[in-house]
Symmetry: C2
Subunit: 327 residues, 2 copies
């Protein structure tokens, strides 16, 4: 007689029961969107996309030990997991529509799930995205993988590769806040109102979805700032086979940042910090901002490959080593 494999049989079964309950209890909410023909609960979701539009698909994962500090609340983790994906849709000029979630949990902790799902749905509802499918598994650490589907007018997607020589380089909002906030929080210093603002920018990034839609027909190229301005702008310029210069004195810094952080450090946070989820884009002059989002021109696209910086009129060599080597 053949022995049943304890290891696989049991564990797999346990995960399945679990999954079924977790999905229905925490993630199945009534969807008020008639484009969702079948939502959570069948083998898959069935969606009716707008016939005139193309589809955008983005995916991003967060691993507990790497992507979120221990002090980040489950609700903020849920919000962030959605927000960082929305930011990718925004960078392409699209409208987010539907979302799926693949969640790996160490144990099914109902308090955690309650809070996590409340943060996830807070972001989903704020940006009108319907959760249409999910999969829950058990593992040795928490991993959250969100996929968002969006749509966009046919053939009009905003890519990284469209920049032209002479275009202005623009950014939205203020830069460096999230990474400065993270550093302050991790240093253990008591938080002030100003530093709480910075920490909040890390906890709940605000994806620039409306701005992205506006830029679709106004910008030549765009990218969202997840890894830091310098590295992300390099990616955009490299995709466009061009280079550029940033004037560092033009970088938009929040008043909280300038109040708490020395200028050189603030510039470093803005260039390398990551986690801002603002948009960086290129556009031909004059660029007229018809949105409520503050936009700053910080530099110019050129034919010379590479990205250089100036500070107060002088060349400024920025070393962005962290991005380049695996050590």
């Amino acid at each position: 007689m053949i022995a049943q494999s304890k290891k696989f049989d049991l564990k797999t079964k346990v995960v399945i029961v679990d999954e079924f309950k977790i999905i229905s209890q925490y993630f199945e909410r009534k969807v008020e969107d008639n484009s969702v023909r079948v939502g959570i609960g069948d083998d898959g979701a069935v969606l009716s996309p707008d016939r005139q539009k193309d589809l955008i698909a983005v995916v991003d994962s967060m691993v507990s030990a790497v992507h979120f500090p221990v002090w980040l609340s489950p609700a903020d983790i849920g919000y962030r997991a959605v927000a960082i994906n929305l930011s990718d849709v925004a960078a392409m000029g699209g409208t987010p529509r539907w979302m799926t979630l693949a969640l790996t949990l160490v144990k099914p902790d109902s308090d955690w799930l309650e809070e996590f799902s409340s943060g996830l749905f807070a972001a989903a509802e704020e940006f009108n995205v319907a959760l249409v499918g999910g999969d829950t598994t058990r593992g040795s650490e928490i991993i959250i993988s969100v996929q968002i589907l969006g749509d966009i007018e046919r053939g009009s997607v905003l890519q990284r590769s469209g920049a032209e020589p002479g275009d202005g380089i623009y950014v939205s909002g203020t830069l460096g806040d999230a990474s400065a906030g993270l550093s302050i929080k991790e240093s253990g210093s008591p938080l002030t109102q100003a530093s709480e603002f910075l920490v909040g920018r890390f906890q709940r990034p605000h994806p620039r979805v409306d701005l992205g839609r506006f830029l679709r027909t106004r910008a030549t190229a765009a990218i969202d700032l997840s890894d830091g301005l310098f590295g992300d702008l390099e990616k955009l310029l490299s995709a466009s086979e061009l280079g550029g210069t940033i004037e560092l004195d033009k970088l938009p810094l929040s008043k909280q940042m300038t109040q708490l952080v020395r200028r050189r450090d603030a510039i470093h946070f803005a260039l390398a910090g990551g986690d801002d989820y603002e948009l960086c884009f290129t556009a031909s002059d004059p660029f007229i901002n018809e949105t409520d989002v503050p936009i700053q021109r910080i530099g110019t696209v050129s034919n010379d490959l590479g990205l250089s910086c100036t500070l107060d009129g002088n060349s400024y060599e920025f070393r962005n080593k962290g991005y380049r080597h695996f050590t």
Copy 2:
């Protein structure tokens, strides 16, 4: 001055470099599909769905310790990760089109990645699915989360909830092979040609995509067999608010199974084993099979809730405890 957070700053950067290289080196292949307007390499993928069709979205994750045995090759892991998602699309009657991958790795092992991606693309190419997006992160174990997008004639999706009283209950192929093969392999017995066949059914499940498409207009409800016939059929009947009976002597068993495994054990593997990725469906009589896939009628849908079994004409109480309780 504010200290930079070593923990987050460095780790995040390292993951990003890595991801960039891994995606381009192992997962960026030329896509010969003009529905893919933007593939891997931008913030997201841009797809042009067929204007006459609805969209199907499925997602499934595999966690190394839970879902794959240590002896399973990286190529088989890659193949399986795609195949189990294709099976969900098949169960809805859809045609798989595009796929994204969220991959968590412990370390970037080039041999593993080479093999894994070859298996992943083997399944993708066999079923004409284009990999259009990916995200790689580092974690403490391997987690593979695949999302597949498919399409289907508008409003014609095959769901779990459509069964009618009196419908026949049907299954494709043979059942229990994968779990029997897994048990034999894990028992350490030397493999024969017959047992290798069974193990192969676990290593490379064959999703019934063509059959699913045929069933779209012929079946009343369908589900794919990932967790074992009994539990999966219960889900279908419960979604249809009906019950049913299975005649266990009708269960299709492979000749390799009957050669190696006692009858009662074979029935147990077929009912509870999981990992078959065959389709189970209901259809009104007469059901005429116009495909090459062997189809077996194994029971009847009834108005009485619950799922019961008979064996050689006698009532047979099957206890499927593993599915029900978290212990």
